[in-house]
Amino acid sequence: MDQSALHEPPVLDVDQLVVDYGPVRAVDGVSFRVFAGEVVGLLGPNGAGKTSLLSVVEGLVAARSGRVTVAGVDARQHPVAVRAQMGVQLQQTAFQPDLTLIQLVRLYSGLHGMEVDTAAAIAGLDRVGLRREARRRFSQLSGGQQQRLALLVALIHEPALALLDEPTTGLDPQSRRELWDRIERLAGEGTGVVLTTHSMEEAAALADRLVIMHHGRVRAAGTPEQLVQEFQGDPRVARSQRGQATTLEDVFLALTGGAQ
């Protein structure tokens, strides 16, 4: 990422966020920032609090305490204005099942304040390899195709901040690489990206910085190289390490209890 972006206000600022579901604390005092053009990877095992954290940023879940600002706008006070700045791909891909892909692209881009005609919708679908399916209904798509549509819809309005929750789940290797290219291009154009993934390969390939979460808390944060360097002498990592060299996966497993 462009280092000059670090001197500008962050596109996402999460400060001491706490999320409770009844008696269960899902997110416990998490803070991190994302700058323009930066890709931040959120890593953590299932139940670590990644999706809960994103849900607060997306305005879907209310936080118990803490503050979220997007491009300088308080998410709690101005949720509609904040959502206008965001592109969201949810973990569970769901659209109106009876609408065609063209209708869906036009609907969701319109809801983000961007008018898209049929030709532009087809051009967008072409970019994600769905041109032939343009007039098919969403319910007729395969899982991977649904995922590609979800990504197109999330990013078509060129948001300042993109929240991508496990975007490559269910994609074949070709589509996954295309998606990686797309995310890199997006960041190159100045969009801040938050990405959750279970793939260490993906995290290392895409993310400028990683935030490792476990039991709702941040266990470590830094670039992939910094994390490996910082923890390579750690006895927990030594226990989980399988090869000669310490890998990001070794660090992740050690920090999240996977090797115990």
Partner: protein, 262 residues
């Protein structure tokens, strides 16, 4: 690369968002053949069956009574079963979650769903009236049809409001369908559809008088016949409004955007 932020894009106006959502709802309804069947074929079938049960030539008054029954039953099938199942299905599949990540007021999403269901009910009513006029030689006037649309709007809203309570109390589409069907059957039973009300105990007759299906049906018959509303009709209209307000408030207050067992 440039670190400049992609330009802020303003959220669409409420009117624009309403148009987009309503267009999508109606397009989805038009493509859903099962929904179309429920919307139009069921009331027409009830009309045809109802008139065929009349021995000899059905008088216009009798035909209008059957039109009212068919339209109201169709509206409640669509409003109670169709609306609640669709809404819980949207929530279950995550469509609401997806819509709520857009810069559109969440309440607008619900309003558009309810209005689309209402529009479908009014369309079904018009279809039944046209079929009745063509097949059974009754002659509706613009005033009676307009009055009928008004009554159907009240009846339809009461069905949607009742469905909203079902949506609030169920987590899964299957449970919503089952509960909505149960409520529908009880409502139909209480209209005297299966056993004439005259033979019921007095208490249950009073209960039956206040069900939304009966209230809407009782209000629609004189309206379609072009008769002025007397005290009984105003009593029925008041009853329907009360149903809409009470169940609407309960349904909206108890509504949850996110699924999960409760």
């Amino acid at each position: 690369m440039s670190a400049a932020l992609p330009g802020p894009r303003p959220a669409p106006s409420v009117r624009r968002a309403f148009t987009l959502l309503a267009t999508a709802e109606l397009a989805g309804m038009a493509k859903n053949r099962r929904s179309l069947l429920w919307t139009t074929a069921v009331p027409v079938a009830i009309l045809v069956l109802g008139v065929s049960q009349v021995s000899g030539h059905a008088s216009p008054g009798r035909v209008w009574a059957i039109v009212a029954l068919a339209a109201v039953m169709g509206a409640f099938v669509l409003g109670l079963v169709g609306y609640s199942t669709d809404l819980v299905g949207y929530r279950e599949r995550g469509v609401f979650r997806r819509l709520r990540t857009t810069p559109v007021p969440a309440s607008l999403i619900l309003v558009v769903r309810a209005m689309a269901a209402l529009a479908a009910m009014l369309l079904a009513f018009l279809v039944v009236v046209v079929v009745a006029a063509l097949a059974y030689h009754v002659h509706p006037t613009v005033a009676t049809v307009a009055g009928g649309l008004g009554v159907m709007a009240l009846g339809g809203l009461s069905a949607v409001a009742l469905a909203q309570v079902i949506v609030a109390r169920t987590a899964r589409a299957q449970s919503a369908t089952a509960l909505a069907r149960l409520v529908l059957m009880v409502s139909l039973f209480l209209t005297g559809f299966f056993i004439r009300l005259q033979v019921w105990p007095v208490f249950w007759r009073h209960v039956a008088e206040w069900t939304p299906v009966r209230l809407a049906g009782a209000l629609l018959v004189p309206t379609l016949q072009g008769q002025p509303w007397g005290p009984t009709a105003w009593h029925d209209a008041g009853g329907l409004v009360a149903w809409i307000v009470v169940t609407g408030v309960v349904g909206v207050v108890a509504f949850r955007w996110e699924g999960g067992d409760r």
